[in-house]
Symmetry: C2
Subunit: 204 residues, 2 copies
DNA sequence: TTCTAAAATTGAGTCAATTCGATTTTTGTG
DNA sequence: CACAAAAATCGAATTGACTCAATTTTAGAA
C-alpha cells in the first residue's frame, strides 16, 4: 500500500499551509520568516523547500484556495442570473469582491499579485494567470447566458466584453488592495459606475 | 555659493541611474547586484542607499523617465486627435505601447509593476500610482476633447469611461510584459477589439 | 526479518540587500 | 586661513531567503 508516505506528505503540506497562513496574517508576508513557519509547522527549513519552490509559492497555495472558492460561488450566479444586465454583473462581481478578504489580508493580496507579475513562470505565477483566466471565463459565461435569455444583444463580442469587464474590475481591485483605507462599498460603487457605460451599450 | 555639493549630488544621481539602467538591461533586475551598480557608478554601496531607499527606487527613477516621455508624446494626440473615435483612442494607446519598451525591458517592467503593488507607500510606489493617474487623466482629456468636437456623446460619463479604457489597457499591458513572447501588434489588435464595444456605445 | 535503493528530511552554509556607526568632505563663519 | 557643525560617504556587519551534501526514513524484494 502507498499509505504512510502519502499520508505524512499530505499532513506536512497541511501543517505548512496552516502555519504560513497564520503567520502571514499575524506578521505580514515579509514579517513571517521561513524559519518561524518551519518551527510552527514542526518541519525543517529544508523540508519547506522540498514542498514549495519558494516563499511565494506558499502564499500562492493559499491564494488558490481563496480564488477557487470564489469561482465556485460565482457558478450559482451564472446558472441563475438576476433578470437585469446591470444587476447580474454587479451580483457576480459582488461575490468576487466580498469573498476576497476572507482568508487573505490586503497585504497578502499585494504580495501575491506582485509575485505573480515578478515571476510569471514560477508555479504560482502560472497558477495565478490561470485563475485570472478562469474568472474572465466566468464573466464571459455570464454574458453568454444573458445573451441566451435575451437580455444582451446577440451581436455583442462576448469574448472582448468579458475581458474588458474583468480587466477593469481586476485593476480596480489592485488599486483597492494597494490602499489600506479603501472600503468595499466604494469599490463596488465605482465599478458599477464604470460598467453602467457598458450596460447601456449592450442591453437589448 | 551652493555649487560643489549640489553639482556632485546631481552627478552622482546621474551616474547611479546610468549604471543601474545599463546593468538592469544586461543582467536583469535581480542579476544587477547593488555592489556592481555601486562599482560602475564609482560610489560606495552606502552612498546608493543615501540616494535611494532601496533597489526598487532606482528602477523607479528609470520608469518615471520613460512614463513621463510617454505622457509628453500623448499631449500631441489630445491636442489634435484623429477625426474618428476609434482611431483617436488607438493612436493615443499606440503611443503609450510603442514607447513602452524604449528604455525598459519587459523584465524591468515586471519588476517595476511588482514593486509598485508590493510597496505602494514607498517613494516609487506612490510615484507609480501617480503616473497611472496621469495616464488615466490624459485618456479622460482625450475623451473630453472628442466630446467638444462632437465625436462623443455629451451625456457620456467621461471620468468613468477614461478609467475603464485605462484599466483595460493597463491590464492588457501587464499580461503583455508577463509573456516574453507576446508581440506589440497583437496587443494593440486585442485592445482595439475590446475598445470597439465602447466606441460603438459612445459615438454620436 | 533483513537488506538496499529511493525518497524525504535536515540545518549549516551561501549569497545579496540593507543598516549603521565611524570617517571624510563641504560649508560658512570669525 | 583655521575651525566646527552639517552633510555625505564609506564598507563591515546583519539579516533572512534559499541551497545542497549528509543523514534518516520508507518501501518493497528476497
Amino acid at each position: 500500500m502507498s499509505g504512510l508516505r502519502a499520508r505524512q506528505k499530505a499532513d506536512r503540506h497541511r501543517r505548512i499551509i496552516e502555519a504560513a497562513a497564520a503567520l502571514f496574517r499575524e506578521a505580514g508576508y515579509e514579517g513571517a520568516k521561513i524559519e518561524a513557519i518551519a518551527a510552527q509547522a514542526e518541519v525543517s527549513i529544508g523540508t519547506i523547500y522540498n514542498y514549495y519552490q519558494n516563499k511565494g509559492d506558499i502564499l500562492g497555495a493559499i491564494v488558490s484556495l481563496e480564488v477557487n472558492e470564489v469561482l465556485n460561488a460565482g457558478r450559482g450566479v451564472v446558472a441563475r442570473p438576476p433578470a437585469n444586465v446591470g444587476d447580474a454583473l454587479d451580483t457576480l462581481i459582488g461575490i468576487y469582491i466580498e469573498h476576497s478578504l476572507h482568508y487573505l489580508s490586503k497585504e497578502m493580496w499585494r504580495q501575491a499579485m506582485a509575485i505573480s507579475t515578478q515571476l510569471p513562470d514560477s508555479p504560482f505565477g502560472q497558477a495565478y494567470t490561470g485563475l485570472d483566466r478562469s474568472l474572465t471565463e466566468q464573466i464571459r459565461a455570464l454574458i453568454a447566458r444573458l445573451q441566451e435569455i435575451g437580455l444582451v444583444r446577440q451581436d455583442i463580442d462576448g469574448a472582448a466584453l468579458g475581458e474588458l469587464i474583468f480587466n477593469n474590475m481586476n485593476m480596480m481591485f489592485i488599486e483597492f488592495v494597494k490602499r489600506e483605507e479603501a472600503r468595499i462599498p466604494e469599490l463596488r460603487a465605482a465599478i458599477r459606475r464604470q460598467n453602467r457605460i457598458l450596460v447601456a451599450a449592450i442591453g437589448v
